[in-house]
Symmetry: C2
Subunit: 360 residues, 2 copies
DNA sequence: AATAATTCCGTGTGCGCACACAGTTTTATG
DNA sequence: CATAAAACTGTGTGCGCACACGGAATTATT
């Protein structure tokens, strides 16, 4: 095990001082071209790798990051994501990164804008946020771009801006996956329903992508034996209305035996289906939130697709860390695994700590 | 953002020197009880957390670890696991851990013993290995225990010894999971077959556990509508024999329409089934090796259960790191998620870097 | 040619900690 | 009571690096 190469070793071999090597490595200038070349040669020759520990220790200043997220106390999904960010903080704080949290009300576009501006006013070195609302996101992006502040999109992608990275799911592909899972459990001649339990006004792009993906699966396999219908229902918070709606739907389509719920409200559909006694339908939904998990355990939901919110939060911080501290390139799009969760492997995903920690 | 508290801060507040605080924190003794208590009080009061970076930097010595693994060039599964270990190394090397690799021929128990002894002769501070062969593993464990060398079991668990940790899958649960997946695709009245393509002499405990898990699923749901049969076939390397065997089997059981292959040889079953024209059976297998993935992509395998070999290797190193450097407690059993892989989410698991790195 | 302005380069200090060593106080021993 | 032994405590150095500062060599300006 040969000893690690230090800056001192390079300096000696190149016949200069450590200060000069430092200037070369950090591109601080004030080094003659001849010396610069010589130093880089030696660096190459000895295979120098900087000692991150010593480097971070000596650097000794704080790089402030802001995370602008939906209030985690209002929503279990965002609570998970928030937890991932917190874990990321635990890891990178050793390297002098600080993370400040700013929460907005996720049913209030204006609150996002307000909170984001507040966050940016602190002059952070980087920012993490989900660009959920087009108009407001645009404004925030513009401020970032003007100030040269790097930003990472999390959970939701957005066509505008040049984020350091997008971290989240591949919505289209998650639709394809949902189709595959439902298809496996359906027999020829049966009908599957794509059910969107959301406000159609809010109908975000990623929901459309999921539907598109779902359909494309069946188109690709050319399976005409399964018929697909699609419905949107806005009054999902009214149990009785939803039950009535589904009851009608099942009556109209006697062969309807599978549902694909495109967001995390699968539990609402189950509530309604139980009420009207339709217990034999297959159901694929999203997200490991408590209510869904209970129904998964009770064999009422067949599959949940996990969007890994915790991992998203964690990787978001890590990406900023890689960019700001390690000065590594960060992949512009980072799709996280679409985990397939059934009753029998739920615990692994629930208990999984973002136990992974860091130092590149 | 208040500044980090340092040893110096504690020393000042407690009215002692940094050396004394150091002695207390490292339990080196030679500190009067009164002073010790006072220091610990202040530590508590200020919420001191040691600076890992500075700590590792000052520690400045190398902790040698050995990894004794099956030759990764001979088997894609072990290649993946090996890769995980290598990634772990990349991460912990900053903290002064070195990892030396020792490879054995995994069809040769004696070669394991020989290589393990060779590794132990270097007096490592820790060891990582899969206790695949009972007798030989026992000997190695004894040597470790006598020398006080901590060891981590990886991939395979073993009743003897007191490993720092076991890292791998929950075999029983993976069987339950396999049953769930197959069941979802089977109709009432159909038959499922547990197929072991392995040498019965080698029949390891974890294969039995998988079978047990598979059966217990159907027992628990009290579903008598699916019949279960079980077969072992040793001549799996002879394509023709396997095809004949399966042909007979399908003739004997006309309702047979699902297979659960308990190891990574699902592709062999598909080879044979294709040959005899049985293309409509559902199939659940294990492990993301190339041949299996190809069949998954070709819609011939429905589900693969991923045992996360790469993550196993990575976590193995991390566990030793936590124990030896961070001096944290390590969980004695660390089951990794049983990932359900279908054609549509294969890439995520294949391309996934063990991108998670570390510093507690 | 003398001075000023640049360009280039080496030295020194500190980041927070681990550990060796020397120094001081207390207790044991004759 | 003197001395030896043991118990306790403070100081100093180095880990590898980042960066400030000042000095030397070179070039520009009068």
């Amino acid at each position: 095990m040969k000893r690690k190469v230090r800056i001192k070793d390079i300096a000696d071999k190149a016949g200069v001082s450590t200060g000069t090597v430092d200037r070369v490595l950090h591109k601080r200038g004030n080094v003659s071209e001849a010396v610069r070349k010589r130093v880089l040669e030696v660096v190459e020759e000895l295979g120098y790798e900087r000692n991150l520990l010593a480097s971070a220790l000596a650097y000794n200043r704080i790089i402030p990051i802001v995370a602008v997220l939906p209030d985690p106390t209002k929503d279990p999904y965002w609570e998970q994501l928030n937890k991932g960010v917190e874990h990321g903080l635990k890891v990178v704080k050793h390297y002098g990164m600080s993370v400040s949290f700013y929460y907005f009300d996720y049913s209030e576009p204006k609150s996002f804008e307000r909170v984001a501006e507040e966050a940016l006013a602190t002059q952070p070195a980087g920012m993490l946020f989900p660009p959920m609302f087009a108009q407001e996101a645009n404004k925030v992006i513009r401020v970032c771009d003007e100030g040269g502040t790097p930003y990472v999109f999390i959970n939701t992608n957005f066509a505008t801006g040049t984020p350091l990275s997008y971290i989240g799911q591949d919505s289209m592909q998650s639709g394809v996956l949902g189709a595959r899972l439902l298809d496996f459990g359906l027999s020829p001649g049966q009908t599957a329903c794509i059910l969107s339990l959301d406000y159609s006004t809010k109908a975000a792009q990623h929901l459309k992508d999921k539907e598109q993906g779902f359909r494309s699966y069946f188109e690709e396999i050319g399976n005409k034996e399964v018929q697909i219908i699609r419905h949107n229902f806005e009054a999902f918070d009214d149990d009785q209305q939803l039950a009535d709606f589904l009851n009608d739907l099942l009556r109209q389509h006697p062969s309807l035996s599978g549902f694909f719920i495109t967001n995390s409200r699968a539990h609402k559909a189950i509530d309604a289906l139980s009420q009207i006694g339709a217990t034999q339908v297959k159901l694929v939904g999203f997200d490991l939130i408590d209510k869904n998990i209970n129904y998964l355990r009770a064999n009422k939901i067949d599959f949940l697709i996990n969007q890994n919110p915790m991992e998203q939060g964690f990787q978001g911080i890590v990406s900023l860390f890689k960019h700001l501290i390690l000065k590594e390139k960060v992949k512009p799009v980072q799709y996280l695994p679409l985990d397939i969760v059934v009753k029998e492997n739920t615990d692994y995903y629930l208990k999984r700590e973002p136990a992974f920690q860091l130092v590149g």
